[in-house]
Subunit: 234 residues, 2 copies
DNA sequence: CAGGAAATTGACGATTTTGTGACAGGTCAC
DNA sequence: GTGACCTGTCACAAAATCGTCAATTTCCTG
């Protein structure tokens, strides 16, 4: 399982050590010495995973993580943070901020590789970038547009991702927790009812273009997108 | 988000400490002092999550994790392992064994709770969600739909679960007590007569699609779902 | 065929779940 | 700055479902 990994670490010795080990494990490593550089690289290269030292000169690792999570395009990239012993406060903050895992220095190469493997493995299979068409709706991730026939549908970022996920996994019922995992990310701590609100906003956006009834409520379970009617009439 | 958590830890003081903290966070905690006991409890109670100390007398935590992963029924239960600093070998083995996360002692209550929340959230959807087909009926847990031929059947959540159970255990008579255990859960306290009412509602939903007679009453014993006619002799 | 236990049925208040509108922060482009 | 979005949470309204009861009906026993 080779992966493109961005290593953000200001201390050259440690940087070298880690890079060498990851290289030996078959990963391709790109390095950055500060958060600003790292941010640029992430945007340009979209690595599979970011190894992020929490203590950095200038912009902190926490701040960088926050920014990566805030950006639509980089939100899905797993982050493993590197912390020094005793920075426990940061661990909690980091996990809540959206880090997928953390490792306390000093750590062994084997451990690091195992962690990376675990994080990569459990990352949800990414939705494709291919346009999706279903019922009277068409959605194109590349252009970020949704159309109902000829008429365009305007959606906020979250609603777009929600609809995208539902359209790529139609018919199946998704619990609110699953939707939070898949659409918001498994590291975000948000109330389950928030899903309801976004479903409502999505419905509100779809209704004027004649696509109401597409998103169905399955009481006690969650929501489902289906071209079939929820119940047969009469 | 309350959960049933099995805590496997041999040291009473730590056990007590953790249990107290989890209880305060709203979780229900069951404790085990060794792996053998833990294994039995998991099979009986199917907890939502297992907190597993890696170092145990007798069967090791690793071995227990392996067994839980090997068993179909317990495979999906998330495991968070507790390790002492320096048991680095175990960490690697544990992650490769399928532990969902691990925490290094000593850890803060906040961290533990945050981890548990994260793991519970990303728990994969149930694996045994295969569609069931029987007689003229088909039921699909994934889409939460029931069809009699082409015609859909509308059911409430409880009726759906009841039908699902009956369809996966057909031709067998289930007492009201058994149905309460299996469909409602063995912890709820409801009148046995309630089963009758739901059976009636289920029958009422099935009758208009020509599936009456599917659920049969066995006087004095309970109910049975059968594709065969209720009585042979006229 | 009568007596009585067991099961069906219709009704209903209570509870749980979902839909909605409003709102306080936060972000981003000007 | 500032003004137009977005977002996540509430509180409350609306709706669906649940469990129970009591009245009836069904079915076995003797």
């Amino acid at each position: 399982m080779a992966a493109n990994i961005l290593l953000v670490e200001d201390e050259p010795a440690i940087q070298e050590l880690i890079a060498a080990n990851l290289g030996r494990a078959g990963h391709h490593v790109v390095r950055a010495g500060d958060a600003e550089t790292a941010q640029r690289i992430v945007r340009d290269a979209l690595p599979d995973l970011v190894l992020l030292d929490w203590m950095l000169p200038g912009m902190s690792g926490i701040e960088l993580a926050r920014r990566l999570r805030a950006d639509e395009r980089t939100r899905g990239i797993p982050i493993i943070m590197l912390t020094a012993r005793g920075e426990e406060q940061d661990k909690v903050a980091g996990l809540e901020m959206g880090a997928d895992d953390y490792i306390t220095k000093p750590f062994s190469p084997r451990e690091l590789v195992a962690r990376i493997k675990a994080v990569l493995r459990r990352r949800a299979p990414q939705a494709t970038e291919d346009p999706v068409q279903l019922g009277g709706l068409s959605l194109d991730p590349a252009t970020h547009r949704v159309n109902a026939g000829e008429r365009p549908v305007v959606l906020g970022p979250t609603e777009f991702r929600l609809l995208h996920f539902l359209m790529t996994h139609p018919e199946r019922v998704h619990s609110r927790a699953q939707l939070l995992d898949q659409v918001w990310g498994d590291h975000v701590f948000v109330e389950e009812r928030t899903v309801d609100v976004h479903v409502r906003r999505l419905r509100a956006a779809l209704e004027p273009v004649g696509q109401d009834g597409l998103i169905q409520t399955v009481r006690g379970s969650g929501y489902r997108l289906s071209a079939l009617p929820a119940v047969a009439g009469v």
